[in-house]
C-alpha cells in the first residue's frame, strides 16, 4: 500500500527531559521520524520540552515547539497548527501517555486529529497490564500468575493468594518506576503504597515471582498488510529480576534452539496482532524457565523503545525510521533496506557478529541509595560493543564504560571465594567483574551458577577469558600466537600489559612490531549475503578488513561515550552538528562512539561510523585504518565532553593532529596552578583558595581564607565529592566520610576554596578564533552559586545583570580564551559576590549549555565552532551568514526569555529502608536532564519550565514553609504575596511565629521530631494535603526534619523549593498560572522575531 495522500501535516510528540528509563534514544528515534516525514513532503510540527535534543533544532521540523508536554499546551499547539495527525509512538512513554490524555479529554475528537503509529485501542491493550494479560492467555501463551489491585487492602488479599516473594508493578509507568519485590507484609505495604502513587491510573499489578529465569526480548514491526518481521532477539545475561535496562544484554540470543526461538517468534506475532499494532514497532519481553523451557510473557511496549534503539544499532535495521514510514501508510516490502540498497525492509536481519550492551550507573552520586539492581531501572546510560564473538564484544563493552574497575582484571584481590560467591547473589553494578574474580580464585562454574542463575554458557565464556589471561601470563614471550588469541577475545593492550607487568605503550609497540592490527568489519543486516553500501564498522582481529579507501580530506569526531550524570545528550548534540557542518564543508566525517542511544551512532549521521570504545587504543586503531588512504586533517576532541578531551594528550603524543584548542592549551585551563597564572595575567580574581593533602592543612587553609569553604578532591568530574563546609566540625566530618573513597592524598590533594555566599552564578558559552570572541550567550543562574551549574535553573538573557556586568563577563571571557589559546568553544563560570567578579572555572570545550543557547537565541554555536576548528575565522562566518553579525551578548528590547530547568532523579533512588534519598541541591551535579521554558517574560517562561519539568505550579492550594534562620528575613516578601494570591500558608512553629509577627497568618504544624497530637507535616505531605513545599536546609540539628520533609515531598511528587532565590523567582509565575493557560510560539517564530529586532 503506497503512502497515504491525506496526511499533509503531522504533529510529532517528543519524550521531554532525559530521565532514568527514558534517555536520548528518543532523540534518535524522534530525529529519524522528523527526517522521514519531511523527506515525504509532510509538514512536521514538533513538541518537545528538551532543548538539549537534536530533534528540536529548528531545521528538523517546520514548526518546533519547545513547550511543556502537557495536554493543555498540546491542545494550544493543535488549535494553532491544525495537524492532520499525531505520531505518539516515537516519544517514549511520555508521548504515549500524552496521546492517551488527549484522547480522554476529547481533544483528538474536537479537532479531529488522527493518531498514527498506534491506535488508542492498541495502546490500551498493550499498556494496561490487566487487559494485556488476558490477551496473552487468549493467544494461547502463558503469563506469570498475577492480580491487579487499586488499593492496599486488595494488595494484601492478593498476597495471600500468590504468596511471597511478590513482584509489584504500577500500571502505565516507564522504566519500572515504583516497582519492586515484596518479601513480607512490611515491604508490600511500602512498595504498593508508592506504586499506587506512581501509577497515573492508581493501579498496581502483583505477580508470582519468576526470579532467576532466562529473560529475552524480541523487537517486531508490523505494517497495514499484516506483514510482520522480527528485527532482533535480545538475551539478558542477568536473569529475570534485574530490569532489562539494568541488565547486561546480548544480541542475537545465544542459548536458544530454533524450536524455542520460533516459539517465541510465533507468540510475539500473535500478540502484536491481538494488540493491533498495525503500523509500527513494538517489543515483547519473555521469561524462559531454564529447567523445562516454560515460556512466560512479561510485557510488551506498543511503541519504539530503548531496546529498539539498541536493536537498530545492533542490526543496522533503523526501526524508528521504518516505523515512521509505516505510520504514513507504506508497507515493509515497499521500503528499501538502505544498507544493501537492493533488498526490501520486509526481512529479518542476520548477524554474523555479537553485540553486547552494558548499563552505566551513577550510584556514587547518591551514597545513601541502595545499589541493589531490581525491577526498577536505575542506570543512567549504556554502552554497546560489537565483536566477532561474545568474549570480544563483552570486553570491548566493559572498557567502553570508562569507569575504573569495570573491566576484568587479574591482580590478586583480598576477597575470599566464599565472600565473592555470597556477594554475587545480589545483582549490583559490576557484578560481572565479581563473577570473573570468583572464577579466577577457583570458584566452579556450578557454584557461580547457583549464586547468580546466569546461564552456564555465559559463565563459561568468562572461564575462557580467565584461561586466556593465564596463557598470556605463562607465555615465555608475548609472541603473535599468544597476542592473537588474547585480541580475538577482546583483551586490551592495557589488560595484557597488566597481566605481563608491562606498560600499555610497551605492549602496543610490541604488537605493532609484529604487524598485528585489528581489521574492520561491516554491520550489513545480512551476514555478508549482499554488499553493504553504508560504512558502519567495528573492529576485530581477523583476516580481512572492509574499510574502503577514499581520497578525501577526513575529520575524525570523538563522541562522548555513555550517558552519565554530568555528560549526556548535550554533548552528542554538539558532535552531531560538527558532523553535519563539516560534511557540508566538504570533509569526510568519521564518527567514533559507543553509545547506542545517540544520533551520532546513527549510520545516517556521518560519512563513516565506527562503533568502538573511546579508549586511546581503540581510537588510534580507527585512525590508523583511515590513514591508509586520503588525508587525515585532524581529530575533534572538544565536543565529546571530558571523554574526548581526555584522549587529546595521548593522540597528540602519537602524532595525531588535534583540531582546535591544543592539548597544551587544554592543560592551561584544567591544571589549577597554570590556570591561576592566566587569571593573574588577566587581572582576574578566583575565590581565595589553597590545596591540602590532609585534615590539618585543610583546617589551616580554611582558617586563613575563612569559612564557609567549598572542598573538592582534584581530578573528579561533575563536582564529585564536592561540599560546602560551614565550620571546623563539619570539615572534620567531611574527612571522615570521604576517607573510604581514598580520593585525597599527596598525588591528588583536596582543593579548598573560599565559598562565595549569596553570589550570583553566571555561565557563558563563546567561540574564540584566535583574534576575536563571539559570545553565544550569557546565562544567569537562578539559584545562588553553590548549586552545581548543571542542577540550577538559569535564564537567557540574564534578568538581573546590568549591561555593564555583562560586558565585564564578556571581556573577562575574552582575556581567558586568549590566555589559554582557545580555538573553538569555551565555557566559563563566574560568580558575582557584592559586585566583585570571580572566575570559578573555564572549560575549553563544548559545554552542557551549548544546545540551550542555540535554541534560545537561534545561534548555531556547535556548527560555527567546528568550522573555526578547521580554520575559518569568525569574521568569515558572519560574512557567510553562518553566524548573526551581533553576538549573544546583545539583547534587543522585547526579546523572549528562555529558562532552563534541571530535572532530578531522586525519585529513582531509595535508601536500603526504602525511603527516597535527600532531594537537596548542592555543588555536586545530580540532574539527569533539562527542560526549557521560553516566553515573552520571565514569570511565564519560568512557569513553563516548571510545568515542563513535571512540577507545575498549582493555581491554588496549600504552601508549606520551613526555612533556615538565615533565610527567614528573605522569605517574608514572597510569602506575603503568596497569601495575597490566595494560597493557604502552613509553617513549622519557628517560621510561623516570625511570619505572624509580620502580619502573615500561617497555620503552624508539628515537625516530625516534635511530639504532640495532630498530624505532623510529613503526614500531611504524604496524605497529599500540601501542594508546594518551601524548605531550605538548616544547621545539622534540624537536618533530620528537613530530610523527612523533602523525602516525603519527592515521594508525593509535589513542587519543592530548596532555595529562597528559586521561590522569589517563582512568585511572578504563581501569578501567571492563576491568569490562565500558556500561549505557544515556535522556535522558528522566536528566531524570526529576534532577526527582525536585530534588523531594526
Amino acid at each position: 500500500m503506497p503512502k497515504r495522500k491525506d496526511l499533509k501535516s503531522v504533529l510529532v510528540i517528543g519524550s521531554g527531559p532525559i530521565v532514568i528509563g527514558q534517555a536520548c534514544e528518543f532523540d534518535y528515534s524522534g530525529t529519524q521520524a522528523c527526517r522521514v516525514l519531511r523527506e515525504e513532503g509532510i509538514r512536521v510540527i514538533l513538541v518537545n520540552s528538551n532543548p538539549a535534543t537534536i530533534m528540536t533544532d529548528p531545521d528538523f521540523a517546520d514548526a518546533t515547539y519547545v513547550e511543556p508536554i502537557t495536554p493543555e499546551v498540546i491542545e494550544s499547539i493543535i488549535a494553532k497548527e491544525r495537524p492532520d495527525a499525531i505520531l505518539p509512538t516515537l516519544g517514549g512513554q511520555t508521548a504515549l501517555n500524552a496521546a492517551m490524555s488527549l484522547h480522554e479529554m476529547g481533544i483528538l475528537e474536537k479537532y479531529n486529529v488522527e493518531l498514527i503509529g498506534a491506535k488508542i485501542d492498541a495502546i490500551k491493550k498493550g499498556e494496561d497490564r490487566q487487559i494485556f494479560k488476558q490477551l496473552v492467555l487468549d493467544a494461547g501463551a502463558d503469563v506469570a500468575k498475577s492480580v491487579i489491585c487499586s488499593s492496599l487492602a486488595q494488595c494484601f488479599d492478593a498476597a495471600g493468594e500468590l504468596g511471597y516473594p511478590l513482584m509489584v508493578q504500577p500500571s502505565f509507568t516507564m522504566g519500572g518506576l515504583g516497582s519492586g519485590f515484596a518479601h513480607d507484609e512490611e515491604e508490600l505495604k511500602r512498595i504498593c503504597g508508592s506504586g499506587l502513587q506512581a501509577s497515573p491510573v492508581g493501579q498496581v499489578l502483583l505477580s508470582e515471582s519468576i526470579l532467576g529465569w532466562k529473560e529475552y526480548e524480541l523487537e517486531l514491526m508490523r505494517d497495514v498488510n499484516d506483514n510482520c518481521v522480527v528485527v532482533c532477539s535480545i538475551e539478558n545475561v542477568d536473569p529475570v529480576g534485574v530490569h532489562t535496562g539494568d541488565s547486561i544484554t546480548v544480541a542475537p540470543a545465544l542459548t536458544l534452539t530454533d524450536r524455542e526461538y520460533q516459539n517465541l517468534r510465533n507468540i510475539s506475532i500473535d500478540i502484536i496482532r491481538a494488540v493491533g499494532v498495525d503500523t509500527g514497532g513494538c517489543n515483547i519481553q519473555f521469561a524462559v524457565d531454564p529447567d523445562n523451557g516454560r515460556v512466560v510473557v512479561i510485557e510488551m511496549n506498543p511503541r519504539v523503545s530503548r531496546s529498539s534503539a539498541l536493536a537498530s544499532k545492533a542490526t543496522g535495521f533503523p526501526i524508528a525510521k521504518i516505523a515512521a514510514k509505516l505510520a504514513i501508510g507504506y508497507t515493509l516490502d515497499e521500503i528499501p533496506n538502505d544498507i544493501t540498497g537492493v533488498t526490501p525492509a520486509s526481512f529479518e536481519p542476520a548477524l554474523d557478529y555479537v553485540v553486547v550492551k552494558v548499563p552505566r550507573f551513577a550510584f556514587e552520586k547518591f551514597p545513601a541509595a541502595d545499589a541493589t539492581l531490581t525491577t526498577t531501572m536505575k542506570s543512567v546510560g549504556e554502552v554497546m560493543a560489537i565483536g566477532r564473538n561474545y568474549s570480544q564484544a563483552l570486553q570491548k563493552a566493559l572498557r567502553s564504560l570508562e569507569k575504573k574497575g569495570s573491566s576484568f582484571h587479574w591482580n590478586k584481590t583480598e576477597e575470599s571465594v566464599a565472600s565473592l560467591l555470597e556477594a554475587i547473589k545480589i545483582p549490583t553494578d559490576g557484578r560481572i567483574v565479581q563473577v570473573q574474580q570468583a572464577l579466577l580464585l577457583g570458584a566452579s562454574a556450578e557454584q557461580v551458577f547457583d549464586s547468580t542463575k546466569i546461564d552456564p554458557w555465559f559463565i563459561d565464556q568468562i572461564v575462557l577469558i580467565n584461561e586466556i589471561a593465564e596463557d598470556v601470563r605463562e607465555a615465555s614471550s608475548l609472541d603473535s600466537d599468544v597476542l592473537a588469541i588474547a585480541k580475538e577475545h577482546g583483551f586490551s593492550d592495557a589488560q595484557i600489559a597488566q597481566i605481563r607487568g608491562l606498560r600499555e605503550e610497551e605492549v602496543r609497540s610490541l604488537r605493532y612490531s609484529l604487524g598485528m592490527r585489528p581489521v574492520f568489519k561491516t554491520v550489513d543486516t545480512c551476514a555478508g549475503e549482499f554488499p553493504a553500501l553504508t560504512p558502519y564498522h567495528y573492529s576485530t582481529y581477523e583476516q580481512e578488513t572492509e574499510v574502503v579507501p577514499s581520497s578525501r580530506k577526513k575529520v575524525v569526531i570523538l563522541g562522548s561515550g555513555p550517558n552519565r550524570i554530568g555528560q549526556g545528550v548535550e554533548f552528542d548534540y554538539s558532535c552531531v552538528h560538527a558532523s553535519f557542518a563539516l560534511s557540508d564543508a566538504g570533509f569526510e566525517t568519521i564518527m567514533i562512539n559507543c553509545n547506542p542511544e545517540t544520533v551520532s551512532t546513527d549510520y545516517d549521521t556521518s560519512d563513516r561510523l565506527y562503533f568502538e570504545p573511546l579508549t586511546l587504543e581503540d581510537v588510534l586503531e580507527v585512525i590508523h585504518a583511515e590513514s591508509d588512504s586520503g588525508e587525515l586533517v585532524g581529530v575533534v576532541v572538544q565536543l565529546g565532553g571530558q571523554t574526548a578531551l581526555g584522549l587529546a594528550k595521548g593522540l597528540k603524543a602519537a602524532g595525531i593532529p588535534i583540531l582546535g584548542t591544543s592539548p597544551e592549551a587544554i592543560d592551561l585551563a584544567e591544571e589549577r596552578g597554570l590556570f591561576s597564572n592566566i587569571l593573574d595575567n588577566a587581572e582576574l580574581l578566583a575565590p581565595a583558595n589553597g590545596v591540602a593533602v590532609n585534615f590539618e592543612e585543610a583546617t589551616e587553609i580554611a582558617n586563613r581564607i575563612g569559612f564557609p569553604v567549598l572542598v573538592r578532591p582534584s581530578f573528579v568530574l561533575g563536582g564529585r565529592g564536592m561540599e560546602i563546609v560551614y565550620d571546623q566540625p563539619s570539615l572534620a566530618d567531611y574527612f571522615v566520610r570521604i576517607a573510604q573513597f581514598g580520593l585525597i592524598g599527596p598525588g591528588s590533594p583536596l582543593l579548598v576554596d573560599r565559598f562565595l555566599d549569596d553570589a550570583i552564578e553566571i555561565d557563558i558559552d563563546a567561540i574564540y578564533d584566535g583574534t576575536e570572541l563571539y559570545v553565544g550567550g550569557v546565562m544567569e543562574h537562578i539559584e545562588e552559586a553553590g548549586i552545581h551549574s548543571g542542577d540550577s535553573s538559569c535564564t537567557l538573557p540574564p534578568i538581573t545583570l546590568s549591561s555593564a556586568q555583562i560586558e565585564r563577563v564578556r571581556s573577562a571571557t575574552e582575556k581567558i580564551a586568549k590566555g589559554i589559546g582557545v580555538r573553538g568553544l569555551i565555557n566559563v563560570q563566574f560568580a558575582i559576590a557584592n559586585d566583585v567578579l570571580y572566575v570559578l572555572e573555564a572549560n575549553p570545550r563544548a559545554s552542557r549549555t551549548v544546545p540551550f543557547v542555540s535554541k534560545a537565541l537561534g545561534i548555531t554555536l556547535a556548527k560555527a565552532a567546528s568550522l573555526v576548528m578547521v580554520g575559518k575565522s569568525l569574521a568569515e562566518l558572519k560574512a557567510s551568514g553562518d553566524l548573526p553579525n551581533v553576538d549573544g551578548t546583545y539583547i534587543p528590547a522585547g526579546s523572549a526569555i528562555a529558562v532552563k530547568e534541571a530535572v532530578l532523579p531522586f525519585k529513582r533512588f531509595a535508601t536500603k529502608d526504602g525511603r527516597f534519598v535527600d532531594s537537596l541541591l548542592g555543588p555536586e551535579m545530580r540532574s539527569t536532564g533539562e527542560v526549557m521554558g521560553i516566553d515573552v517574560n520571565f514569570p511565564t517562561a519560568f512557569a513553563k519550565s516548571q510545568a515542563a519539568a513535571g512540577s507545575a505550579l498549582p493555581k491554588s492550594g496549600t504552601i508549606f514553609i520551613s526555612v533556615a534562620d538565615r533565610d527567614k528575613p528573605q522569605v517574608l516578601l514572597p510569602v506575603r504575596r503568596l497569601q495575597q494570591l490566595g494560597y493557604r500558608i502552613l509553617a513549622t512553629e519557628g517560621t510561623a511565629a516570625i511570619l505572624s509577627r509580620h502580619g502573615i497568618l500561617a497555620e503552624s504544624v508539628r515537625k516530625q521530631s516534635s511530639v504532640g497530637d495532630g498530624p505532623s507535616i510529613v503526614d500531611l505531605i504524604t496524605a497529599g494535603e500540601v501542594d508546594v513545599v518551601v524548605n531550605t536546609p538548616s544547621g545539622s540539628s534540624a537536618r533530620r526534619d528537613g530530610y523527612e520533609i523533602r523525602a516525603a515531598t519527592t515521594a508525593a511528587d509535589k513542587p519543592i523549593f530548596t532555595t529562597i532565590a528559586q521561590l522569589s523567582a517563582a512568585i511572578g509565575s504563581f501569578e501567571r498560572v492563576i491568569d490562565g493557560p500558556f500561549a505557544v510560539r515556535s522556535l522558528q517564530q522566536h528566531s524570526k522575531d529576534r532577526a527582525d529586532a536585530l534588523a531594526k
Binding site: 498488510n225 542459548t255 520460533q262 537492493v342 526481512f347 554474523d352 554458557w457
Partner: protein, 378 residues
C-alpha cells in the same frame, strides 16, 4: 586440537583448527545465514555433498537432541564455523555437536574468518572446496587444489538415490485419517512428514527410483515430491514420472527440489544461482494474497519462467503462474498450475530451521485435495 585448512577451488585458503572428525571432506562450499537451527541444517538431506559455512559466529551452544533431527543422520560433507561452543547449555540437550560431527564422520574446521569466506563466495559464486585436517593438512596447496578439481561438481550431479529411503515405508495419520499421500523421497525432512500426518494424511514414502504407476498404485489423494540435493536437470526419471501423475489429474505438491522438478515437468528450464539462497530470513511475496512471508531457503538451483503473470506450459499442461517470488532478487519461489491441481514452492514451508510463516501451504494442499474430490464427485 590439530590444525585444519579449508581450500577453495580457486586456490584461496583459510587456516584454522580441526573440528569434528579429522581427515578430508570435499564438496560444494556454501554459506548459510541462519542464526539458529544448526542441528536441523546438518540433518537436512538437501545439504548432502556440500561443505556448509555458518555465518553465525557461535555454533553448538545448545548441543544436540533427538527431537530436532530432520533425518536419521548428518548429511553435510564438511562443516565450517567461527567459534565452536566449549560447553552445552540447554534443557533439551543430549550431547555436544562436536561429538555428533565425529560420530557421523564430518570433517570440519573452526576458528577461521567465516565472513571473509562468505564475502568471497558471494562475489565469486559458490565453488568446490575441501576441508583437510590431520596428516592431510600437511600437503601443499597445489596438491589440495588438484584433489578438489577431481571431485564432482554440483552442476550435473545426481544425489537423490544417495539420500532417498531404500525401502517404501508408511507413516500413520495423526488422529482421524483424512486421506493418503504418496511421497517421492528425494531427501525428505521429518518435519514435512509431520506437517502432513498432523493434517490427517497417511503418508507413503517411496524411494527416489519409484515410477508413476507404483506411486499411483496406492490411489493417493495427492502426490508429493520432496526437497533434496543435486542438479534437477539430472532427474529426468522423476520428471517423466511426474508428467504421468499430472496427466492422471492427481493433485500434486512439491517443495524445493520438488518445485524444480514440477517446473521441468511443465517444460520450463532450471538453472544454477551464483551463490544460492541459504538462510531463514528470506522475504517471499505470495502473489495470491499480496502478503510477505519470511521463509527458510536452501537452494542453489531455480526454475526460470519468463513473461506472463500467466504463461502456457510448453508441455501442454495449460496455464501456469508464478505464485511466489523472492523480494530480494525476484527468483521464482513458487509455481501454480491454473488448469490442473498442481502447485509447488522453492522454499521450505516446513521450516525447521526457520520461521513458520509459510506453514499455511500445507493447508492449501488439503484444500486442493478437497476441491479435487468435489470436482470428481460433481
Amino acid at each position: 586440537m590439530s590444525k585444519a585448512i579449508l581450500v577453495l577451488e580457486d586456490g584461496r585458503t583459510f587456516t584454522g583448527k580441526s573440528y569434528g572428525k579429522e581427515g578430508v571432506s570435499l564438496g560444494e562450499v556454501v554459506f548459510c545465514t541462519g542464526m539458529t537451527g544448526y542441528q536441523e541444517t546438518l540433518t537436512d538431506p538437501s545439504y548432502a555433498g556440500q561443505i556448509v559455512v555458518q555465518t553465525a559466529p557461535h555454533i553448538g551452544n545448545t548441543g544436540v537432541n533427538s527431537t530436532d533431527e530432520e533425518s536419521a543422520k548428518v548429511w553435510v560433507a564438511g562443516y565450517v564455523v567461527r567459534d565452536a561452543s566449549r560447553i552445552v547449555s540447554n534443557f533439551r540437550s543430549e550431547g555436544s555437536l562436536d561429538d555428533e560431527l565425529s560420530k557421523y564422520g564430518v570433517v570440519g574446521i573452526r576458528g577461521i574468518d567465516t565472513r571473509a569466506l562468505t564475502r568471497h563466495l558471494r562475489d565469486k559464486g559458490v565453488m568446490r572446496g575441501g576441508v583437510f585436517s590431520g596428516p592431510a593438512a600437511e600437503k601443499s596447496v597445489t596438491e589440495l587444489v588438484h584433489e578438489i578439481s577431481q571431485s564432482a561438481p554440483m552442476l550435473g550431479r545426481s544425489l537423490s538415490s544417495e539420500v532417498s529411503t531404500g525401502e517404501k515405508f508408511v507413516v500413520e495419520a495423526e488422529g482421524q485419517t483424512f486421506g493418503k499421500i504418496a511421497i517421492l523421497d528425494l531427501g525428505i525432512k521429518d518435519s514435512t512428514i509431520q506437517n502432513m500426518t498432523a493434517r490427517g494424511l497417511e503418508v507413503h514414502v517411496f524411494p527416489a527410483s519409484t515410477n508413476a504407476s507404483e506411486l499411483l498404485a496406492i490411489s493417493p489423494d495427492a502426490v508429493f515430491y520432496s526437497n533434496g540435493p543435486g542438479d534437477p536437470s539430472t532427474a529426468s526419471g522423476q520428471v517423466d514420472a511426474l508428467r504421468e501423475v499430472l496427466k492422471a489429474g492427481v493433485p500434486f505438491f512439491g517443495i524445493c527440489f520438488g518445485n524444480q522438478l514440477l517446473g521441468r515437468a511443465l517444460g520450463f528450464e532450471t538453472y544454477k544461482l551464483d551463490f544460492g539462497h541459504r538462510g531463514i530470513n528470506q522475504p517471499v511475496m505470495d502473489r495470491t494474497t499480496g502478503k510477505v512471508e519470511v521463509t527458510a531457503h536452501n537452494h542453489g538451483f531455480a526454475v526460470r519462467i519468463d513473461g506472463g503473470p500467466e504463461v502456457e506450459s510448453p508441455k501442454g499442461f495449460g496455464r501456469v503462474r508464478v505464485s511466489h517470488v523472492s523480494l530480494n532478487d525476484d527468483v521464482v519461489e513458487g509455481i501454480e498450475c491454473l488448469d490442473i491441481p498442481a502447485f509447488s514452492v522453492q522454499y521450505h514451508p516446513e521450516a525447521a530451521a526457520g520461521p513458520h510463516d509459510a506453514n499455511y501451504l500445507f493447508d492449501r494442499l488439503i484444500d486442493v485435495i478437497k476441491n479435487n474430490r468435489k470436482a470428481k464427485n460433481a
